[in-house]
C-alpha cells in the first residue's frame, strides 16, 4: 500500500504537528486542572492569536517567532482580564453557567474577528516556510521542527514555574484544594486569572508556531479546539503529561488517517476517537476524576 518511507514520514510529521496540538491542549488542561472548567473559548483565543501573529507580520514585519515574545504576554493579559472580570463574575461559580459564559465569550471573540476581518483565509510568507530538514531517507519541514523544539521548551518552562516558584506552588495548591488555599491566604481569584492567562499564553505561542505553515481565518480556532479537547480528554483532564503525550498521539493519528482517508475525512478520525474516549474512559489515560 504505502511504502515504509511514506508511513514513517507521515508519523514524523504527525509528531511534529502533534507537538503544537499538545501546546494548545496544554493550555486547556492547565485551565481545567486549576479552575475545573472546560474553556470553550479556547479556540476563539487561538484564532485571535493567529490574527495577532498575522498582523504582527504584515504590519510590523515581525517574524512570528519574534512576535511570540510580544503576543504571549499580551494574550496572557487578555486571558487574565477575561477570567478575572468576565468569566469569574458572570458565572457566580455555577458549573452550568460557566459552560454557557465561556461559550458566549467564544462566540463573541470569533465573530468579532469575522466581522472585522471577514472570512477570507490569509497566509503569510516567511522565507523558511518551505525549507526542509534533510534526514537522509526523508525531509521534514523546518518550521515544524522548530515548533517541536519550542513546545518542549515551553513545557519545561511551565514545569519549572510550577515546581520552583511561589506562584507555581500557589497554583498547585488552588488546584488541589481551593478552600484550603483560600484559608491559607492565597488570592484564589488572582490565581484563577493567572492560570487562565497562562493557558491563553500557551495558545499565543502555539499560534506563532503554526502560522508559518498554516492559514488564518476566524473559524480555524474552532477546528483546533475540538482537536485540543480530544487530546485533553484522551490524555486526561488536568494532566500535563497527558496533554503532551495525547497531543503527539493525536498528531500521528491525524497524519495517518489523512494518509488513508484523505484530508477532510481525516478530521473525522479525531472526533470519533474523542467520542469513544468520552464514552469508554472519560478520565483519559492519565486523568484526574472529573
Amino acid at each position: 500500500m504505502f511504502s515504509p518511507v511514506i508511513l514513517i514520514t507521515a508519523i514524523l510529521n504527525g509528531l511534529l504537528t502533534g507537538a503544537v496540538y499538545a501546546l494548545v491542549a496544554l493550555g486547556l488542561t492547565l485551565i481545567y486542572g486549576v479552575l475545573h472548567i472546560i474553556n470553550f473559548a479556547h479556540g476563539a483565543l487561538l484564532s485571535m492569536a493567529l490574527f495577532g501573529a498575522f498582523f504582527a507580520f504584515r504590519l510590523l514585519g515581525l517574524d512570528p517567532y519574534l512576535a511570540a515574545l510580544f503576543l504571549a504576554p499580551a494574550l496572557f493579559a487578555f486571558g487574565y482580564a477575561l477570567q478575572r472580570f468576565i468569566i469569574g463574575p458572570a458565572s457566580h461559580g455555577d458549573d452550568r453557567n460557566i459552560l454557557l459564559v465561556t461559550l458566549g465569550v467564544s462566540v463573541v471573540i470569533e465573530n468579532v474577528l469575522l466581522y472585522a476581518f471577514r472570512a477570507d483565509t490569509r497566509t503569510i510568507d516567511v522565507p523558511y516556510a518551505f525549507q526542509t530538514l534533510d534526514l537522509g531517507f526523508t525531509f521534514l519541514p523546518i518550521p515544524r521542527v522548530i515548533g517541536f523544539g519550542a513546545v518542549l521548551a515551553v513545557a519545561v518552562a511551565l514545569w519549572a514555574l510550577m515546581t520552583w516558584t511561589d506562584l507555581g506552588k500557589a497554583i498547585r495548591a488552588v488546584a488541589k484544594e481551593k478552600l484550603g488555599a483560600e484559608l491559607a491566604g492565597i488570592d484564589v481569584a488572582h490565581v484563577y486569572a493567572v492560570t487562565f492567562g497562562l493557558g491563553t499564553a500557551c495558545v499565543a505561542i502555539a499560534a506563532c508556531l503554526l502560522i508559518p505553515t498554516y492559514y488564518v481565518n476566524p473559524t480555524v480556532g474552532e477546528a483546533f479546539v475540538l482537536i485540543a479537547f480530544t487530546i485533553v480528554v484522551l490524555g486526561g483532564m488536568g494532566s500535563v503529561p497527558g496533554a503532551l503525550i495525547g497531543g503527539l498521539l493525536i498528531g500521528v493519528v491525524e497524519s495517518l488517517s489523512g494518509l488513508f482517508l484523505g484530508e477532510s475525512l481525516g478530521q473525522i478520525g479525531i472526533f470519533l476517537i474523542f467520542i469513544m474516549v468520552l464514552l469508554v474512559r472519560p478520565t483519559g489515560l492519565f486523568g484526574v476524576k472529573a
Binding site: I37, F40, L99, L100, V101, G104, L265
Partner: protein, 325 residues
Amino acid sequence: MTGVRPILAVVIALAAVPLITDSNTVLNFLVVTLLIALAGQGWNVLGGYGGQYSFGHAAFFGTGAYVTAILQVRYNANAWVGFAAGIAGGAAVGAFIGALTFRVGLRGSYFALVTLAFAEVLRIIASVAPITGAGVGILVKLDLRAAALQFESRAMFYWFILALVAVALMIAHAIERSRFGTWLIAVRENEDAAKALGVNAPRVKLGAMVLSAAITAAAGCFYVQYFLFIDSGIAYGTRLSIEALLTPIIGGAGTVFGPLLGALVVQALGEGAKLIAGDAPGLNLIVYGAVLVLVIAFAPRGLIRLVDDANRWLSRSAKLESAHG
C-alpha cells in the same frame, strides 16, 4: 406552572397577526422567529427541564432537514411524508446519541462536548457525502402547492410554523404536569436523590433527548420547506446549535414560554444590530454571545423569571398598600 389558557391566548393572539398586517418584512421576521423558537423549544426539553446542556442540537435540526430534502429531491417522496420522516430521523439520531452517552453516565461539560463533537462529525460527513450534495447542498424544487408543503402566501407558512410551535408549547405544558416531567426535573435538580426515589435516570434522560431531538428536527424540516435549500453549514453548523440553546436560556429555561420569548428577543436584537451596524457576517452572533454572557451574569434564570418576579413584587406591594391604606 403554566395553564392551558395562557397558551391558547398567546397562540390566538399570534395567529391574528397576518389578519392585521400583510407586510412581508413583519411576517418573515416572525416566521424566522418562530422557527428559532421551535428549535429552542426542542432544546428546552432536554436542557431546560432536564438540565442536560447540549451544544450540538444542530445534529437534530440538520438531520431533519436533510432527511426531508433527500426524500423529496432524490426519491420524489411527498413533502408531508418527508416532514414526518425528518422528525423520525432526528429522533433516531437523538436516541442514538442519548443511548450512548446516558448509559455511560456522561453529564455536564462532558455531555456538552460530546454533543458538539457529534454535530461536527455530521457536518463533515454532510460536506463531503454525495447524497447530501457535498459542498453544494440540496435545492428543493419550487412547487407552490399545499400537497408539497409549500405555500404561495407567507401567511400560510406563518400559520404552519405557529401550529408547530403551539404543539411544542402544549408538549411543554404536558411535561410540567406528568410523572415523566416531574422525574426529569428531579434528575436535573439532583440526580442521585432522584435515583434513590425510584427514578430511572438514564431512561428518563433518553426519553427527554428523543423528544427534544424530534422537536428540533421539525424545525429543520420546516426550514427546508420555507427556504428550499440546505447545506452542511446551515444544517449542522454551530450557529443553529447556539440559537437553539440561546433562546431558552435568555427567555427562561425550563418554562413553557421561555424559548418563545427568547426567540423574540434574540431576533429583535439581531435585526436591531443590522439596522445600526449594517448587514455584516458575524454581527448577529456577536450580539447573541454578548447577550448570553449578560443574561447569565444578571438574569441567569431567564427573562421570564424576571417578569414573574416583577409581577410578584408588584402584587405584594399592592397588597401592602391596600392593607395600610
